[in-house]
Point group: C2
Chain length 432, copies 2
């Protein structure tokens, strides 16, 4: 069992009793065993000793909603409304994506994510085997799911469901436990009710949680009402989705009553502020969700609607926009945004041992270079992380105790090759 | 006359006829003389030849509102309302600021700004001599002004006005033309009407433009109405301010009528999205201002209310929040945000030869490392700069043709010394 110690570090723990620790952290294999002021053993008794001076350590960031492979379409179609963007720009090209494209696009996103401090990601896409292989190779943690659009003939629906089930079985608790799976009908507006019900049944059979897009735009909510006589929350409740543990992405347009339904079923919300702003979908009612004790986490959404995967930016947006829009300067304090991006993120996706630096938790954590102007003076590090930091301040990343980024270089993927191939895929797909 | 050429570069020009140029740029001394596909002369005829491969070049960013020295209070008092934050946290400590503190705080901010690609800044503060000396040493461009709060006895008012006038005279067109000056009563809510009128008169005497905070919060607008019978725009109009060229910061709370008054006098607006969100001041009506042809630029405001000085982030916020809040996905397109952060920024502060890469313009420009995942695929660079880039992608910075940042190292200020002293100042000021 390999035993590693960091000394001279500053740690943001996400432990409410002692949010900042100056001193040492020890992990053995994949688990944190100590955090505190003094080294528990003489330094020579550790297999590895890291001097943490000039570094700030914190839990890895958790991105609870995305479509990594869409990085191939970054910058291809900006400043458009969601439906136009999807139907005229994204879907026609995505329809041409091969398994290879998905692999390359996912690797491109994973590179950006892990170098930027994201250690766990929820990914919903197609060709999920490739996504799982990329996550496995990268060393990061993935909660993966084949997102199925059900607007297709019955035989295609059957094939998609079967594929989603097979993928969920094949990869749940794989890659040394780093990969888990979910069941995901894409959205109420892209899936007929009976298709959603079949996913719910499959999730029951497999004992897996569910994930879907919900109430992202006002138009979609309105159309749901016109088509089914209820808004999306009641609609999904009726279809039994919330009888499974569920994570919904976006949830921008909610009534008070809908918030109560989400609360009743402990439905978790992935708040995607960057994407919701960029696609003009609106601003989610996050302060109200937090007030009701609903678990709110943060997602980047796909890199074509953001257009980066910097989770520090999502924390910052979550902390900023709700203040500006509600007029309440404490609407989402820095600490709440940090929790959404780390501990609450992990809990939202059923990773109970991730998101905080304390004994018993998995050693998923990152280091930031804090000897830079925007981290001075050294006052409130939680404020600095939320209001000043960016992905590029991250220098080192560990997942399950293993280092996957060192001095800003990725140790698990070949960056030069991925960049080269991503460009080739894009040019082929768009006929350039 | 030193003649330098960049070859193999990709240039965002801010020239509408040819927004992207792939090839070469030449500058002689402080002025761009050529931009185009091919080198005009054999390479050996240049004094310096830079290979621009893997780099994206663009005009330096222009930050049109800030209080650089407030970096000493970064993270000291977050998540508070503007008035509480000012009166209980900022002003008591700022009252203790010595000339040395202002020098160090300003240098800390300048380091962050220039390393992050900002080449010109408007700064309004006290001890402005120190600010000017820091700007002079740094090699950046500064539009500087002694901001005066007039809630004080007549003799103190007199002294402040005299100081503002003296500073404006001493430093206008100094540092080889890199420093110009403005006249700034702090805000209508902090300056009695006659004090503002005296500043207007001084600005006429000196033939200088004016700068002030205006309509940042709803409360301030309401109080202006109660105290003077008019909202801030009509109030300032009545006091004659707009008879001078004027830049107002914030302008969050405007009526249609007020927008027409600003348009009539060609008043320029410094939009500070990060600060306005963080202090819960609201969201300015930027799409309407742009529609009326009013010059809108971007400012970070002070680093204690932001809390960073990353102008890429301000461009991104400007592009994102107005979409999300208005529901219009083209409210502020990427290109408009880029213009606000560069060319329109420069024009807003009367720097007519700054903000675009074309012959005749000053050689104020920056280079970004674009061989990184978040810049792939290489599609739309304007989109990438606005939606994906951050300050830390900047590697090199030139102002007036002189390089001041090289390979992410500042060539003009001693970073280690500034960080050390900033920490010492903070600890002394807060008694830690």
């Amino acid at each position: 069992m390999k035993k590693t110690i960091i000394t001279n570090g500053t740690f943001i723990t996400l432990n409410e009793v002692q949010p900042i620790v100056r001193g040492c952290m020890v992990w053995e294999d994949n688990q944190i065993t100590y955090i505190g002021e003094h080294a528990p053993l003489p330094l020579e008794q550790y297999d590895e000793h890291i001097n943490g001076k000039h570094k700030l350590f914190m839990p890895g960031l958790v991105n609870t909603h995305g479509h990594a492979a869409m990085s191939l379409l970054r910058g291809y179609g900006d400043d458009l409304a969601l439906q136009v963007w999807l139907q005229e720009k994204m879907w026609p090209i995505e329809g041409k994506f091969t398994a290879h494209d998905v692999r390359v696009g996912t690797e491109l996103s994973i590179l950006e994510m892990i170098k930027g401090g994201t250690t766990a990601v929820v990914d919903m896409y197609d060709h999920m085997n490739e996504v799982a292989l990329a996550v496995e190779q990268s060393g990061m943690r993935g909660v993966l799911t084949r997102g199925a659009i059900g607007l297709c003939p019955p035989d295609v629906q059957d094939a998609k469901l079967a594929e989603a089930v097979q993928f969920a079985k094949d990869w749940h608790n794989k890659a040394g436990g780093r990969i888990t799976t979910l069941m995901s009908p894409h959205a109420p507006y892209t899936c007929p009710p009976d298709f959603i019900e079949r996913f719910v049944q499959a999730a029951h059979d497999l004992q897996l949680p569910m994930h879907t897009h919900m109430s992202e735009t006002a138009r979609e909510v309105q159309e749901n009402f016109e088509q089914y006589g209820s808004r999306p929350v009641a609609h999904l409740e009726k279809l039994g989705m919330f009888t499974r543990p569920t994570l919904v992405a976006h949830a921008v347009h909610l009534t008070d009553e809908e918030i109560q339904i989400l609360k009743k079923y402990d439905v978790r919300v992935s708040h995607n502020p960057g994407s919701n702003l960029k696609l003009a979908s609106g601003v989610a009612r996050v302060p109200e969700l937090l007030k009701e004790g609903i678990k709110v986490s943060l997602g980047t959404d796909g890199p074509a609607s953001n257009n980066n995967l910097d989770m520090f930016e999502e924390m910052r947006l979550a902390a900023l926009i709700h203040k500006g829009v509600t007029g309440d300067p404490v609407a989402v304090p820095a600490e709440a945004a940090l929790r959404m991006g780390t501990l609450e993120g992990a809990q939202s996706i059923w990773l109970e041992q991730v998101g905080a630096l304390q004994p018993g938790m998995k050693a998923d954590f990152i280091a930031l270079d804090i000897d830079q102007p925007h981290f001075f003076p050294k006052t409130n590090y939680i404020s600095h992380v939320v209001y000043s930091a960016s992905a590029k301040d991250v220098t080192d990343v560990w997942v399950e105790g293993k280092q996957i980024v060192k001095n800003s270089e990725c140790l698990t993927l070949d960056e030069e090759k991925v960049l080269y191939e991503a460009q080739r895929c894009f040019e082929r797909l768009t006929g350039q």
